[in-house]
Point group: C2
Chain length 236, copies 2
């Protein structure tokens, strides 16, 4: 079995993910938001790629709350931003969260040709790794990236997840997967590497340091969201 890594959602093709178990990562912040929302009792998260699609989807569902960002900030008319700290139990319990973000929700929807699509972040690194290893198939880690490009925060989180997967099975790693693992093993504090990331700097400039600290907590939660038929839930 193999572990590969795709460093931005825009490079995902059906060919690259078919028959594989995909773990989609957008540490800062979409997949951290999804995991937190479901942990705090949301019934589902529906990832959509545009504001228009979010508003259309809202008409078809009940108990809806709208969340997401453009340029890292809350969308006009939406209840929630893309801060995981906003997805409290009070805000999301029993709700269907419709989420649209610049990078993460695209990467998720583009991965739908995979055998299984799990949602990963540092928050559930160990749990998602165990789940993926249990599939006994090739694993492809899809980094959402930032604006179509490689993102350091997703890359090191991939390394952490690869490290965990290797504790649960024997895999051959591609060159890029080996490099992510090496980056993680030499920067297990995360910050010493991530502080150079473009997206980290953008969020810091927007005063979102608390969000970053929250997202960099490894294994805070032991849940594994799955994306299937357009919806993300904990159990299908």
């Amino acid at each position: 079995m193999k572990i590969d890594l795709i460093s931005t959602g825009s490079h995902v093709t059906s060919e690259l993910v078919k028959n594989a178990t995909v773990i989609v990562i957008d540490v800062l912040r979409a997949t951290s938001v999804i995991i937190t929302a479901l942990k705090n009792g949301a019934k589902s998260v529906v990832p959509v790629t545009s504001v228009e699609e979010a508003l259309d989807t809202k008409k078809k569902l009940e108990n809806v709350i709208l969340g997401g960002e453009r340029k890292a900030q809350k969308i006009e008319g939406f209840e929630l931003s893309n801060s995981p700290l906003a997805y409290t139990s009070t805000a999301v319990h029993d709700k269907n969260v419709i989420l649209t973000t610049t990078n993460g929700t695209h990467a998720i929807t583009k991965s739908s040709a995979a055998d299984k699509v799990y949602i990963g972040a540092l928050l559930n690194a160990k749990a998602v790794s165990q789940k993926a290893a249990g599939e006994e198939s090739d694993v492809v880690i899809v980094n959402s990236g930032t604006d179509g490009s490689f993102s350091m925060d997703d890359f090191i989180a991939s390394g952490a997840i690869i490290d965990e997967i290797l504790q649960n099975g024997v895999y051959e790693l591609t060159d890029v997967a080996k490099t992510a693992l090496l980056i993680y093993r030499t920067h297990q504090d995360f910050f010493s590497y991530i502080k150079e990331a473009k997206h980290y700097k953008l969020l810091m400039d927007l005063g979102l340091e608390e969000d970053i600290r929250f997202c960099l907590q490894k294994d805070l939660y032991d849940i594994v969201p799955e994306y299937k038929n357009g919806i993300i839930k904990l159990h299908f």
Copy 2:
């Protein structure tokens, strides 16, 4: 000014390279071959993407010698393989080398929308970096990769070249460029990182260790080949 890196030739688009100075790298071994051939007196190197195109091009040129590989081995009917050690002065002096390889020649031809396309490897790392910095434009380092994927050997060589470019100007680095630089700075012997590369293992299995040792000599040559109008030469 910015330095970006594209980790495989298959991801190169006109949009990503236009108005930029591109350095194409295929350390193991196409760009190492090109640099060596021109250093040893070849008049030009013509990169082509198929065996058929090589044979067609041969009909149109004089003083031709055919070189290249498929699956890392010499092509039937070709005079030279893809080993830089074969491109001696005796073999290539005053010749036009028609070269077709699996990864490198594709990456070069796909970069043609750039403002300038220089050929780089560890062999000419310092020279190509100085040349690129002299253009005072954005720099995009195109890694040929291996079979459409990220290749550790090209990635660390990119880091070495970025390190040199930064000694000649002030640049903003993208996340992937920063990561390549970090990998180089923490593995300046090259082998401690490259020994894990898929392509390194393939070449070692084929008994090509001498080729690898040759290609990993940083700054052996001070020449900078340029690709223009389908041809690679030292001076246009």
